[in-house]
Symmetry: C2
Subunit: 243 residues, 2 copies
């Protein structure tokens, strides 16, 4: 049986992927992924074949992986973070219906929510949700409904894709929805370049977050009603009762 | 400056922790954690000192870690999954206020949501939330409100702590709330013993999940309205438009 590894490489630095992920890449012939992710691992994998397709050509990238696997190559498809969180794992299963002789092995990794949380402190100790602000494949009203639901039910929230060139005011809109349910001084955090060169973090209020410029390398964290600042870190308690 | 590593060891098997986590444990003198987690790593760490406190004695465990660090030992506190997701990272910051000379390094790991998703296929490709059904520290009405909000806003949902001896009908109650917003045939999945001996998974409908016995080693996944079964796997598409 031919098999493709679908590997989440974590935030970026080699040591932030799992031992299993590192071993899968080391034992592959061919590594396929978006150029930016290839560049993150290339130096650690001498002698491998690296293949890529441009951004947005995700289906082509999946087809490429299956075609290489059919040549009996040991293939790994890589994604940043976790391949199963806004990643390629789902599309690989969908495209894979055309290649019944190839099975998939999904190797999980540290997604930006977990990697960024560790930089900020411990903002995700209790119930939380992940929401992407990208409306490329999701209607905006669905995103807004999720923001409102998460805001009202007091989830800690992690926002992926908070900004792009075409969506310069989306974070502002998201904060305005959340401000209908949460206090202005709700503890929030932003992390840039998690696990990569230039990593930085900032803790701020929800009101301040609304007017803070972010970019495509920013992950945004909004605390729940109990989240507090402890010694310069963003910390959400385990529950609603004193321990 | 004295420092404690707070390390998420992932689902259980050694190779499912990050390279960074493995290196942190290997360079520690003393590993502190709940007995079950110690047993998962002990064989890989010859010559280390292992210290533990019973379940529910989490504050004592944190104090122990700081006291050992104050003796200039290199200390790692371990948690299963990610220390920042229903884990010890938050409590370590809170207890750490009494030990200003000790800093914390949080090393993230693969939480059960990510590890279990990789076993089921790709259920968490789009927006999702984590909800713990444990009402030990959270009022039940808060949990129910989150279930309803997540159900209505079409999040994929991962349930942690779906069952305990004292809470034998909590999963049933949770499903009843979700069934007010989701179709009976919503694709769901359960995974037991993720990344450990006896790992198993099952895909079923929300109606079937309601009457399925689970235990404290089960993680429960509820798909969103778009989640489907692809070649025996649980797969959530990237959005709401065809790609």
């Amino acid at each position: 049986m031919k098999q493709i590894n679908v590997v989440g490489i974590g935030p970026g630095a080699w040591d932030k992927m799992t031992v299993e992920a590192a071993e899968a890449l080391q034992s592959s012939d061919t590594i396929i992924g978006y150029t930016v992710y290839i560049d993150l691992v290339r130096d650690h994998l001498p002698g491998k074949e690296f293949l890529s397709t441009p951004m947005r050509k995700e289906v082509d990238r999946c087809v490429l992986a299956f075609e290489e696997a059919e040549k009996d190559k040991r293939v790994s498809m890589i994604c940043s973070g976790d391949a199963g969180v806004y990643g390629m794992a789902g599309l690989m299963y969908e495209v894979g219906e055309r290649y019944p002789e190839v099975s998939l092995k999904i190797i999980p990794g540290v997604t930006a929510a977990l990697g960024g949380a560790a930089v900020l402190g411990a903002p995700l100790i209790h119930d939380f949700c992940l929401i992407s602000l990208s409306d490329l494949l999701t209607p905006m009203d669905k995103i807004e409904k999720r923001l409102a639901a998460a805001g009202e039910a007091d989830f800690a929230i992690v926002l992926y894709n908070p900004q792009s060139r075409k969506r310069s005011d989306y974070l502002q809109k998201a904060c305005d929805i959340l401000l209908q349910y949460r206090k202005e001084n709700t503890v929030c955090g932003i992390v840039e370049n998690i696990g990569r060169e230039g990593e930085s973090m900032k803790i701020l209020t929800l009101r301040e977050l609304r007017d803070t410029p972010v970019n495509m390398f920013t992950t945004v964290f909004i605390g729940n009603s109990q989240t507090k600042i402890v010694n310069g870190h963003m910390v959400t308690p385990r529950g609603y009762r004193n321990v």
